[in-house]
């Protein structure tokens, strides 16, 4: 079985005015195995969202190639081989929750009864059956994101692309959504490429964490997270020592220096921030 995603020497250069350019991504090589959960993490400007967009064929690479399930990214998009969720839920406000989940099914010619049944199934999966006939403006941010995630699963894709879908949520809702997401992935067996700003989130969810750095955007390191399969990850995992070890490993990779020096630097600065970290 071919890999879910194969990125081969892909780069993305955005031209600016007066002959200048921005190298958003420089020679990225990455493979994602079927059923694997991979997170992309890094400071602003490292190109993680750009990379996700290239995989989704929302943008084309300047050089190199992207393959999804052995086809070109464009063909995979046309064949609808992936589901996608954005940071803004992007629900259509004039459609009900059910109408929003049915949207991809409707666009691809699925019959009314089948659509209804699938939407009801997905709503039960994300725990929003009671809100089937509500409109997005009647839902909280977390609920809207759950609808967006349900929508991304509508056609049971083997690959899920998610761009910081929990970015706008508070910490409690975030942890709850993470629990639900690993549960869903265990049940569906889909591969996932997940963009995030949060180290604990990346470690909790992923099999591997791809640490990226900016200017130009490239992969600094890929950290394997040996915390077991998705089915075995629950709330207790966040307290496990293995979890903290993995978080430290990712943090080291992000900062580019060993953990002890990082702690000293943090004490001096007084507060840890992911943005504006100087690379060594």
């Amino acid at each position: 079985m071919s890999d879910a995603v194969t990125v081969s020497a892909a780069s993305k250069i955005f031209p600016l005015a007066r002959g200048q350019q921005v190298v958003a991504l420089e020679v990225i090589d990455l493979t994602v195995a079927p059923g694997e959960f991979v997170s992309l993490i890094g400071p602003s400007g490292c190109g993680k969202s750009t990379l996700l967009r290239l995989i989704a064929d929302l943008d084309q690479p300047t050089t190199g190639s992207i393959e999804v399930f052995g086809k070109t990214a464009r063909q995979a998009r046309i064949d609808q081989d992936y589901g996608i969720a954005f940071q803004q839920a992007g629900l259509l406000p004039w459609r009900t929750v059910t109408g929003n989940i049915e949207l991809p099914l409707e666009l691809h010619g699925v019959g009314k009864a089948a659509r209804r049944a699938r939407a009801a199934e997905l709503l039960a999966l994300v725990g929003l059956s009671d809100f089937a006939d509500r409109y997005p403006d009647q839902l909280s941010g977390g609920m809207q994101q759950r609808v967006a995630i349900a929508r991304s699963l509508a056609e049971s894709p083997e690959l899920l692309l998610m761009d910081e879908p929990f970015g706008a949520l508070d910490e409690m809702t975030r942890e709850r959504m993470q629990n639900e997401l690993v549960r869903l992935c265990a049940e569906t067996g889909a591969a996932v490429v997940f963009v995030t700003h949060s180290i604990p989130e990346a470690v909790f969810l992923s099999d591997r964490v791809v640490v990226m750095s900016p200017r130009p955007g490239r992969i600094r390191e890929i950290v394997p997270v040996g915390l077991g399969s998705a089915g075995n990850r629950d709330d207790g995992l966040r307290e496990a020592s293995g979890f903290f070890a993995a978080v430290r490993a990712v943090r080291e990779a992000l900062h580019g220096v060993p953990a002890a020096e990082v702690r000293e630097a943090e004490t001096r600065r007084g507060v840890e921030t992911l943005r504006g970290v100087e690379t060594q």
């Binding site: 989704a56 609808q80 954005f86 803004q88 991809p104 409707e106 409109y135």
Partner: protein, 246 residues
């Protein structure tokens, strides 16, 4: 919620009445509310028939202008070239004092027909409906654009599911502006000639005979007509946009 404006209105009327009586203001400066009310009741039949004529012209103009405005906006949104070519024409139409076209249209369609007035109302309606609908058709949130691409939706599918419904609130903003303009234009067009029926004609003839209270009574009728148009379009807008973002 309704009580405060109503009380304010009553207070204004009372002060007005007192001022007219107290300062012995002449009718040709400002008639008293009671005189206007009296004339309104007496001339109600004429006011009602005048309202029907002017109202009908405004309605025809509203429907015609709205349909044309929407169609042109759709074509302009789809065909860039069309938009660029028609831009100077639309801009010119937007700034011409349309009622200045009234004498021309009366000559074209005959002084006995209401067509000239309806066309003027249609023109006044076309501009805001066209401009607002076009703006609505052009604004699609980037996340929705990405979503349609990710779903490999055809252009028609994207238009039907995202662009058109998203443009509805803008369309109704244009309609709300246009409905008042339809009444005003239909009425003012009556000042420039054409058949005798209509509120505008009645206002001018009442003023010509120095019956100012009666003239104001007809003005009151036209205010009521304008309000009906405005409230109906507002209700329609509220209904159509009840689930759109604020």
């Amino acid at each position: 919620m309704i009580l405060a404006p109503v009380i304010l209105g009553v207070v204004v009327l009372v002060l007005w009445q007192l001022a007219v009586v107290g300062f012995a203001i002449k009718p040709y400066v400002l008639p008293s509310p009671t005189a206007i009310g009296d004339q309104f009741v007496r001339a109600f039949g004429t006011i009602w028939s005048g309202t029907r004529v002017t109202g009908f012209n405004a309605l025809v103009g509203l429907l015609l202008g709205a349909v044309l405005g929407i169609l042109f906006a759709i074509v302009s949104a789809l065909v860039r070239v069309f938009d660029e070519v028609t831009l100077p024409v639309v801009t010119a139409l937007a700034v011409v004092p349309i009622v200045a076209l009234a004498p021309v249209l009366y000559t074209m369609f005959g002084a006995g027909a209401e067509t000239g007035r309806q066309l003027i109302a249609a023109l006044a309606v076309f501009i805001p409906v066209y401009v607002n609908t076009l703006r609505g058709l052009r604004q699609v949130r980037p996340v929705h654009r990405d979503l349609m691409r990710a779903y490999a939706a055809s252009s028609w599918q994207a238009t039907r599911t995202v662009t058109l419904p998203g443009a509805i609130p803008f369309l109704f903003t244009g309609l709300r502006i246009a409905s008042s303009l339809a009444v005003i234009s239909a009425l003012i067009a009556e000042y420039f000639g054409g058949p005798v029926a209509g509120l505008g004609k009645s206002i001018t003839s009442a003023a010509a005979y120095s019956n100012y209270a009666l003239a104001y009574a007809f003005v009151l009728g036209s205010i009521a007509l304008g309000l009906v148009f405005y409230l109906l379009t507002l209700a329609l807008e509220k209904f159509a946009t009840r689930h759109s973002p604020a």
